[in-house]
């Protein structure tokens, strides 16, 4: 399907409707919202990674303002099970019961008129605990000599998965074989706005209203109702402006359960706002992977097989709804990447440790997997003495094979992967880089190619058996009496610009000017049920649903409009916000139609659809195995060999997201992801010591890339439509964060190749880079 580019519809780089309020400081985040009589909560959190909790002595005179689990009887435990065989179930109490399993785990809620006074209470509590040895290393965690974190388990692992292709014959036939041991660091997602919860009980409606910073309000509603023992009608989730999601806000929070329970108990609104210290010390919850990966290739660089032992540090609990093994268990299915891979042997472990529970961070497992695969490919290329471009071209799925089903059963919908690579390479003067290298400069060029499955649905997730399998996405389109179109969606927009892009979709179908389209999201009382915004799914799923709802609405509008013009429906079309007679300039506006339906029904034709001008429509692509956007990231990095410091000189991304509903917003998404990917590649790491203590508890220690650390990226788009989605659009929200570690470290390794040095661990901090150089000089490799 081809879509013509028009003024405000699909394909227009429309300025974001939501930006006026953000740029003028009129956004409303949980922290901006107060209620009369509201109380603030500070949590007493575990100072220790692993201990038996023996008791909490509350400050004298404040016993009624400090709440432990025992003070909140009846609140449920968070359980995020998986249907994958062998999954070990963890029970995460909303407040610690008799065991402390990571630093920062909430133990008691302290309630006062101000946050400072609540913190005074927390500081005055006395904890009684018996320390246990902390499990801090994911590689050791599953070993038999380690203390068990969940007593009824047999080992500290949520899940192991295996794929057992026979790779034993490859040594004999391969022209090259490389093995690499690679590690990525634990990270904090560090959104600008932390989590925040405001809970209030409405006695008239007998309803718990929780205003919370979430990217999936409906899932939170279901989980919360379950944990509070309320029916779902008694819980309403409002998710106002959210200052960054990234997966961090895609979870049912223990704090949400506690605040809601307190609000019922105290009969007053209760609010908790996560601060930066809590975020860094209690929520480093993503990205920590370890790989031992071997790859075999023939002389031309064609992959013969890959063997991988992957461990992911999943932390102490399985969080709701995505669970503890989303990352590790996906490694095996993501490893083939955009390549034709004949054999894969893969063993993964989701290790359980005394760290905060893992959450899926933008890119989810792909960032680590792409890093492992792309650096391994470059190692192979160096060994075979072929270029990084050549080895990729030898393996990328060719365009004429699309749609392509790879060896793990993933189906790539469309695209020209080699072309993206060629364009990225062509964007550089490689000869100049090689000349600088020959002159002794430590400068290098690095590539990473990958594809990103997005908007994958029922057929993929049912096998996981997580608490939420996504199905049909629904959207509501309704005209108000003045002709303003309201779109109600259950996904949430927090940076994706959906208040604009969904209006563009409506404009594409109905021609209503985007200024006259209001996108309503972030309130379970107003929007159709949805699993929310995650997995790069919103523009495919909600975009498709809005289009479908608008199409159906167009049918009803046409019928009424035709009647007003006294012609048959077949003689009219809906476009530009009007119902127009095809053969003339005669028209009525959609606003005229709306006015008629609501305010002058005497003029409606007989037999008009009684459903009126409100439509709820559902959508799911068929097949729903997901769209695959893809990209090639290419970086030029310069290394200071005296200090190990890395400067990114240049960065190019060639990206194919199918039909770009709003190219400018896609650019923004890719650039934001790139910044986060640069963080993963060069800066961010939350080290834990042997006692399981996080060592980077302020932003002076936890380094995030700043504006000056992100190069002026050169972005190029390809637009190969997905054959399976409404406009050919593909999910692309996470893509930017996937490629950078692979491309950047490959560039560093290219710069260091002359010295025989190679970096294996992320982030490629100056000390790691220099250690690699020193190791090469010392001949240790």
């Amino acid at each position: 399907m081809t879509v013509e580019q028009r003024g405000f519809g699909v394909g227009a780089s429309l300025r974001r409707k939501e930006d006026a309020r953000f740029l003028h400081g009129r956004g409303r985040f949980v922290g901006d919202i107060t209620r009369p009589g509201m109380l603030e909560v500070a949590f007493l959190r575990s100072p220790i990674a692993h201990a038996r909790l023996l008791g909490v002595t509350k400050p004298q005179g404040a016993e009624k303002r400090v709440f432990t689990l025992a003070d909140l009887p009846g609140i449920g435990t968070i359980r995020a099970n998986s249907a994958l065989p062998g999954f070990r179930v963890s029970e995460q109490p909303a407040l610690a019961k008799d065991r402390l399993r990571h630093v920062g785990e909430a133990i008691a809620a302290c309630v006062a008129g101000s946050r400072a006074a609540a913190e005074d209470l927390a500081a005055a509590c006395v904890l009684d605990y018996e320390a246990l040895p902390a499990v801090h290393d994911m590689l050791q965690a599953p070993l038999p000599d380690q203390p068990l974190i969940h007593d009824h388990w047999t080992m500290n692992a949520f899940l192991e998965t295996r794929r057992n292709d026979d790779v034993s014959g490859l040594d004999a036939v391969a022209a090259a074989k490389v093995t690499r041991t690679l590690r990525t660091s634990r990270q904090c997602m560090a959104p600008l706005e932390g989590r925040g919860v405001l809970a209030e009980w409405d006695p008239r409606l007998e309803q718990m209203i929780v205003t919370t910073s979430t990217q999936m309000p409906h899932v939170t509603k279901t989980g919360l109702a379950d944990c509070l023992g309320l029916d779902e009608g008694q819980v309403r989730i409002v998710s106002p402006d959210v200052g960054g999601g990234f997966g961090y806000k895609g979870i049912l929070l223990p704090e949400e359960i506690v605040c809601a329970s307190l609000a019922i108990r105290l009969g007053r609104p209760v609010r908790w706002l996560e601060d930066r210290f809590e975020h860094l010390s209690a929520s480093a919850n993503c990205r920590e992977h370890h790989y031992v990966i071997t790859a075999w290739a023939d002389k031309a660089g064609k992959l013969l097989g890959v063997e991988c032992e992957a461990t992911v540090d999943a932390g102490a609990y399985s969080s709701y709804p995505f669970g503890a093994c989303l990352e590790a268990a996906q490694v095996g299915s993501i490893l083939p990447g955009p390549y034709v891979l004949p054999l894969l042997r893969c063993h993964t472990i989701s290790a359980c440790t005394n760290k905060p529970p893992i959450l899926p961070y933008r890119g989810v497992a792909r960032t680590g997997v792409c890093y492992a695969m792309e650096t391994t490919l470059d190692a192979l290329a160096r060994k075979l003495d072929i270029t990084a471009e050549a080895i990729r071209l030898a393996n990328l799925v060719p365009p004429d094979a699309m749609p392509y089903r790879n060896l793990v059963g993933k189906v790539f919908d469309s695209g020209d992967y080699p072309e993206a690579l060629r364009r990225a390479v062509a964007a550089f003067d490689l000869d100049a880089i090689r000349a600088r290298q020959a002159a002794g400069e430590a400068v290098g060029f690095g590539l990473a190619t990958f594809c990103e499955q997005g908007a994958h649905g029922t057929s993929v997730y049912h096998a996981w058996g997580i608490p939420f399998v996504p199905g049909f996405e629904q959207a509501q389109a309704r005209l108000s009496p003045d002709g303003v179109l309201e779109l109600r969606v259950g996904v949430h927009s927090h940076g994706q610009g959906m208040e604009t892009t969904l209006a563009q979709v409506a404009n594409e179908i109905l021609g209503v000017h985007p200024d006259k389209v209001r996108v309503v999201h972030g309130d379970t009382a107003l929007t159709p049920y949805s699993t929310g915004t995650w997995g790069s799914r919103a523009m495919v799923m909600a975009g498709g649903a809005v289009a479908e709802a608008c199409r159906q609405l167009a049918g009803r509008v046409a019928a009424i409009g035709a009647a007003l013009m006294q012609v048959s429906v077949a003689e009219v079309e809906v476009a530009d916000g009007k119902v127009r007679r095809r053969d003339s300039d005669v028209f009525v506006t959609i606003a005229d139609v709306a006015r008629t339906w609501y305010r002058a029904p005497q003029n409606l034709p007989p037999g008009v659809d009684k459903g009126g001008l409100e439509i709820t429509a559902g959508y799911r692509p068929d097949p729903d195995t997901g769209t695959h956007s893809y990209a090639c990231h290419a970086a030029v990095a310069r290394v200071d060999v005296r200090t190990g410091a890395v400067v990114l000189e240049d960065y190019v991304i060639v990206e194919d997201g199918g039909k770009l509903v709003n190219p400018m917003i896609v650019d923004g998404q890719v650039m934001g992801g790139l910044a986060q990917g640069i963080g993963t590649a060069l800066y961010e790491e939350m080290p834990y010591d042997r006692d399981g203590q996080p060592l980077a508890a302020t932003l002076a220690d936890y380094l995030l890339p700043g504006t000056t650390d992100v190069p002026d990226v050169r972005l190029e788009h390809m637009e190969t439509l997905s054959p399976w989605t409404t406009f050919g659009q593909k999910g692309i929200g996470e893509s930017g964060a996937i490629g950078p570690p692979g491309a950047i470290v490959n560039a560093i390794n290219d710069a260091l190749a002359r010295l025989g040095a190679e970096v294996f661990d992320l982030p490629a901090s100056p000390s790691r880079v220099l250690a690699a150089i020193h190791a090469a000089k010392g001949g240790v490799r």
Binding site: E119, T643, S765, P766, L770
Partner: protein, 265 residues
């Protein structure tokens, strides 16, 4: 995190300020370091004495060959040229690379020195320039050479009842050689290693190696370093066995870079 409750006082003259400090109040300058300490509850003073309204707290005066810089002079003022001459140009160059402008707008040279973070810029640069701290206590003013002012991590030679009143730096001739090199992971980040070299014609060159988790190492006569830089830098750095390899390698680079800059005509 929110600070524990504290009282706030705003002394309007120095004797009142000294009385407050003697009674246990914590001096507060730009609060760019104190603020985080309060918020993390690492500092829980009963009272803050806000120094910012004291007479002559900020400002620069030149007397003969000495420049007196009030403790309350902000990094931003120094960046913008509050200190005259070659000395001022050197200091402006340093100030420009402290943190970010909003921090520089509030943070003060006195607060930075009194805070004595080993990684702070003035802690490294002032001893290199041969500066003198002027402390004010119940018995009046006292002069403390800057190369002995910072005595440890967050420790200074100031007595508990003293305030830092001002810093005095020499008027340097135009012809001095100056080298200042620091390693920051990011712009505005605290330094991981700083080296400074000051070469005044006719006098022994002076070097400082700082930001190494302790008080700055002052090399009062850096002639050897200027002459045989690589070997001498290696030797100096080997005197820090407690540092990891990376830090030592960067320290060596820092010294060499600072020497190179100071040697430029």
């Amino acid at each position: 995190m929110k600070p524990a409750a504290f009282a706030y006082a705003r002394p309007l003259d120095w004797s009142e300020a000294l009385q407050l400090v003697a009674s246990g109040a914590r001096p507060a300058a730009g609060t760019q370091s104190l603020g985080p300490l309060l918020n993390l509850r690492l500092a829980q003073p009963d009272m803050l004495a806000d120094l910012r309204h004291l007479p002559d707290y900020a400002g620069v005066t030149v007397t003969g060959d000495a420049i007196r810089i009030g403790a309350g002079t902000t990094h931003a003022a120094i960046e913008d040229g509050a200190v005259p001459g070659r000395t001022g140009a050197i200091m402006a160059g340093v100030a420009r690379r402290i943190a970010y402008r909003p921090v520089r707008n509030r943070g003060t040279i006195g607060g930075s020195l009194a805070h004595a973070d080993p990684a702070a810029d003035w802690v490294a640069v002032m001893p290199a320039l041969g500066a003198t701290a002027i402390a004010l206590g119940p018995r009046g003013e006292r002069r403390i050479a800057l190369d002995g002012f910072v005595t440890g991590i967050f420790e200074t030679a100031l007595a508990s009842d003293e305030l830092l009143r001002a810093v005095e730096v020499p008027v340097l001739p135009d012809a001095v050689g100056w080298g200042h090199w620091k390693f920051c992971r990011k712009i505005g980040e605290f330094s991981k290693v700083t080296a400074c070299v000051l070469a005044v014609p006719g006098a022994a060159p002076r070097a400082v190696l700082a930001a190494l988790d302790g008080p700055p190492r002052v090399i009062a006569d850096a002639s050897a370093l200027m002459a045989d830089t690589e070997a001498e830098a290696t030797r100096i750095v080997s005197g820090f066995p407690e540092l990891d390899d990376w830090r030592r390698a960067v320290a060596q680079t820092a010294l060499m870079q600072a020497v190179a800059a100071a040697s430029q005509p």
